[in-house]
């Protein structure tokens, strides 16, 4: 690990933040594999990144109108044969990444393909939040590159990704601040979303009695939520510069996403996977030893299993996609609730050590104060 330097100059502080954290080669190795498993089997590529090539190929070319991006080099969506080829290639690349075959190059290629799919997908005029998960393969590519070339600086990947996530939240908060209605005390933006959700007679909101709740609860509650959202999103960026605070914000973010899905019907499920990057993977030594065995397989075996990702990943296009397409909305929502609570529990456990230390510190301060007063 990078040696922590002492001093108050900006450069020393920056270096300590950039390079000195708990992220190491083992964490990268574990997360890289967990990421592939989740992206392929739990989410499915189309779900994780919004657009699979096959999905894009089904759109008529009349919708082709990409913004300034690599997609402008094309004149339309890919035809169905090319789209299947690209989707299969993506699955093969994920398979190669899982077995750490040229991981730096492979993750970089995965990023380029996903970037192309997303650029084409932006033709539909959808302003999405996929950037955070889209950039993740590039971050992993950088991580593997640093692992090979300069392992003591591998903490850089964690810091830079924390900054990008913080910045993404910050950019979500800034327009809310300037648009006015989130800060105006007589307008309740969260309530607006909640009403939209309730009015469509969502079965889960009926079970929870949420429809009655939103019309009976005080407007002060809604205004509190407006300000909480603003504060949370704007402060995420400064929190990124302190790893401990960032971990607290990750827990807040996972609870926030849980709330936005169940009360406002805005889903951010792919973000959970991105936040997993930051948890303390040293707590999972058995996982590392299990994955290490996979790395020790021969190259032929690795290639065989890597190509198995194609049929396994494409059928039936992931558990989560299956969950999303369930006809019964109540079962679907309950499935999503379990899924979200699982991640909230992980992030809560992740800050356990911080909480214990902070609690001890507060207790010490309070008892100190009490003794001084005596």
């Amino acid at each position: 690990m990078h040696q922590k330097r002492h001093g108050n100059t900006l450069q020393i502080k920056l270096d300590n933040w950039l390079f000195n954290n708990d992220f190491n080669e083992n964490a990268l190795e574990i997360f890289g594999k967990v990421y592939v498993l989740f992206a392929i089997f739990i989410y499915g590529i189309g779900e994780t990144y919004g657009n699979s090539f096959v999905k894009l190929a089904q759109a008529p070319d009349i919708f082709f109108n990409p913004p300034l991006s690599i997609a402008q080099l094309f004149t339309g969506f890919p035809d169905i044969v090319t789209a299947w080829g690209l989707d299969i290639l993506l699955h093969v690349l994920f398979g190669l990444a899982f077995f750490s075959i040229k991981p730096s190059l492979v993750y970089c290629l995965i990023f380029l393909l996903l970037y192309l799919a997303n650029s084409l997908g932006m033709s539909f005029g959808k302003v999405n939040h996929n950037f955070v998960s889209l950039i993740l393969p590039l971050i992993l590519s950088l991580g593997y590159f640093l692992k090979a070339k300069s392992p003591s600086h591998i903490g850089f990947t964690k810091s830079i990704y924390a900054f990008l996530i913080g910045f993404a939240f910050f950019t979500a908060g800034l327009p809310k601040l300037f648009a006015g209605d989130w800060v105006a005390i007589w307008q309740h933006s969260v309530k607006n979303y909640a009403v939209n959700f309730a009015i469509f007679d969502n079965p889960l909101s009926k079970v929870l009695g949420f429809n009655n709740f939103i019309f009976n609860v005080s407007d002060m509650f809604w205004e509190f939520l407006d300000y909480f959202t603003l504060g949370f999103e704007l402060l995420f960026l400064p929190a990124a510069f302190k790893h401990k605070h960032f971990h607290y914000f990750l827990l807040l973010a996972s609870v926030f996403h849980l709330g936005t899905y169940f009360f406002l019907e805005i889903g951010f499920f792919h973000h959970f996977l991105c936040y997993l990057f930051f948890i303390n993977w040293r707590n999972f030594p058995k996982l590392y030893s299990a994955f290490e065995k996979l790395n020790n397989l021969g190259i032929k075996q690795k290639l065989f299993f890597a190509f198995l990702f194609v049929p396994l990943g494409l059928i039936p296009n992931s558990l989560f996609y299956g969950l999303e397409s369930l006809e019964n909305e109540l079962i679907r929502n309950l499935g999503a609730l379990t899924f979200s609570l699982f991640f909230v529990a992980i992030f809560a456990m992740n800050i356990r050590s911080y909480l214990v230390n902070d609690f001890k510190k507060i207790k010490f301060e309070l008892t100190g104060l009490w003794f001084r007063n005596e």
Partner: protein, 151 residues
Amino acid sequence: MTSLKYQIKVKVILRRLFLIILVFCFLAYLSYYSANIYSDIEEPYPFPTLPGFGTAPKYQNKVHNATVYFKEDALLKDSLKLTAIFEEIPKNAWNQVLKHEFIGKNPETKEWLQEHYQIGRYDYAFYVMDSCFLRLNQIKCIKKDTVILFK
């Protein structure tokens, strides 16, 4: 490979990379925010806006061209009418559109929808796959799986 000189060189490169990303992010966002995001709105937002000086009356002025239905009239009370804008369309048309996951922002989209779904009485139609912050025709909040129809 692991000499001190090499380590320092890597550190300097990474430090510069971070600073480049930092500056790029802020500049790119500022240019996007100022040049692009509100380009569809005739009257710009008051920028910045002080607390208590919202832009809601502008929405009220702008949405009169859109056909907006609310399920319950009670919702038209308070400020909700200013921000909660969405369409409720006949169930058969709804089901038809839901089969296809497209969003169109091109004017040609209208023709495509007219051809396929006979939504000829509307000038524009937007189908939204996910809740988003679409700033077209002053519509601020759009519900997931919603079709917005404009006259």
